[in-house]
Symmetry: C2
Subunit: 322 residues, 2 copies
């Protein structure tokens, strides 16, 4: 089912068929003939061929570290909404936080001639050089990249961490701990820094390290970190937890100890999906995942459209909301 067969059936040349299909000038008669032939043959243009010739593709790559984390799927949803409204399809790639898989997908993005890439980097040193040097637009999302020539959309993690901690102090808790993500992950550091700032202000003491735990952004890590905190000689009475998955684990550990919120204060980054009733008494810092995705897609589409202004970083607000 090629354009040649359509042309033959319509009794015109392939150029005319292409023109009809792409909305260039043709006589009404030719148009009628071509449309009839295409209809009769159920013709679908071969995108591979058209892309090879036209060098553009209507595909956006979205590379995320963990497809099973609802935060990233909500983000993906945001990207998809914007992209499909603009006629682009979204290819989702899951790196499992593995820089090597990430590199593979970045290579694929180049080789597949994708129109652009939205990347939630596994590491702030992620190598997007290949994309950039091929003039392929890239937007970093959620986490920013070390290089300054790439657009980014992030949330104000430090303010969010501060606001989470402040809200716990304001509610009367006095020893507010922090469970954050891997040392190497920017969002984990910033959220922790926000907490540290608020905690220092309220307790006067800069010796907070007892109350700080680095975990892995996963359920089990959260559980274990909370168990450790509860086992301290002078345990905390509240905690800021830096993501949703760890919060699920932390809640579990709290429940084991008979300390369900709000008896123990808990403020969490990101919504706890599907855990609505377990969520009661928990303070949530709303991380606008979908909006992040939408903002990133908007930015990327502008770049694809030819916007060559200097790289910018969009920072969305993340504030404790309840």
């Amino acid at each position: 089912m090629t354009i040649y067969e359509v042309a033959a059936r319509a009794g015109v040349s392939t150029s005319t068929v292409s023109r009809v299909l792409n909305g260039a000038r043709v006589s009404a008669e030719s148009e009628r003939l071509v449309r009839a032939a295409a209809e009769a043959l159920a013709f679908t243009p071969n995108r591979t061929a058209s892309r090879l010739r036209g060098r553009r593709s209507a595909v956006i790559g979205l590379i995320i570290p963990d497809i099973e984390n609802p935060f990233f799927t909500a983000l993906a949803r945001g990207v998809e909404n914007r992209a499909s409204a603009a006629g682009y399809s979204v290819v989702l790639c899951n790196t499992d936080e593995d820089p090597e898989r990430e590199a593979t997908y970045l290579d694929i993005a180049v080789a597949e001639h994708m129109a652009g890439v939205i990347l939630a980097p596994a590491d702030d040193a992620s190598d997007v050089g290949r994309l950039v040097s091929h003039q392929r637009p890239v937007v970093a999302v959620d986490r920013s990249l070390a290089r300054a020539d790439v657009d980014a959309v992030t949330v104000d993690n430090r303010a969010g961490g501060r606001s989470a901690a402040e809200s716990l102090f304001a509610a009367g808790y006095t020893r507010v701990a922090c469970i954050t993500g891997p040392v190497s992950v920017e969002t984990a550091q910033l959220r922790m820094a926000g907490w540290r700032q608020a905690a220092t202000r309220h307790t006067g003491s800069a010796y907070l390290d007892d109350l700080l735990r680095y975990a892995d952004y996963r359920v089990e890590g959260g559980r274990q970190a909370m168990a450790e905190l509860l086992a301290l000689p002078d345990p905390p009475d509240a905690a800021v937890v830096a993501n949703n998955l760890m919060a699920a684990g932390a809640l579990d550990a709290l429940h084991d100890a008979g300390l369900d919120p709000p008896g123990f204060g808990l403020a969490v980054f990101g919504d706890l999906p599907f855990a609505s009733f377990g969520r009661r008494g928990i303070r949530v810092v709303d991380v606008p995942a979908r909006e992040l995705g939408e903002a990133a897609a908007t930015l990327l589409l502008e770049r694809i459209g030819g916007d060559t202004s200097p790289a910018k970083t969009v920072v969305l607000r993340a504030v404790e909301q309840r």
Copy 2:
């Protein structure tokens, strides 16, 4: 950066470059020259061109109804594991249960010359005709299709529903209700049918419709259905809930009524992610999402590899596990 430039730099023809890159016979000397040139130019073959010529693509489409449902992301993970091990990449498409978006993605799959498609159909009448008539392999997953000439991988939903209900009766509950999904969705019907079978056996009565609610497979639907059941003059003391999202809503409604499990018996299809502590006392029918994805990918890869045996349906077991 084309194969021509590599050839020029290496002082050989493009055929030789292609041969080196694809592992055909070449002299050691040519190989060395070509590899050096490719390295020096940071050459990445243009997949679009290679696909156009070779007519095969190393991309598998995975079309799912709800990317934010952990069941489907776990399934996607399974597909991805198998596919990437075999050198294929996975393109994830989200239909939002919308047959129209599904049709669009199916068309894209044809036009993009994807190697094959794994589809969790929004409707059992989903039109995969285009794929089939283009000889493009398709595997239905989770839900089967009306047409019999397409491979499918499903779970034994009826047995799962039966086992869920049986386990509640065995634990001493006597009025076991059922909250299932949309009437039009096969899995919802089958899970309900399993429940009905067990309930009929135990209660002797075939008049179970009071205790049956059709909802929408979403959190709010589950909450509302459970609220309705609890408001009955003669309310149930247990329920089978046909998916994870509705269970989250149902749990919420139960909590509002002061009836947390195991006071009220609850058996759920599929794991409740991130709700570990809320999950206590709940019976879970393990729906092997990842394994479904793996099985579907295995089947699809066989078909892509040229297996032309008659269409088959693989049924995985889903049994109450605790």
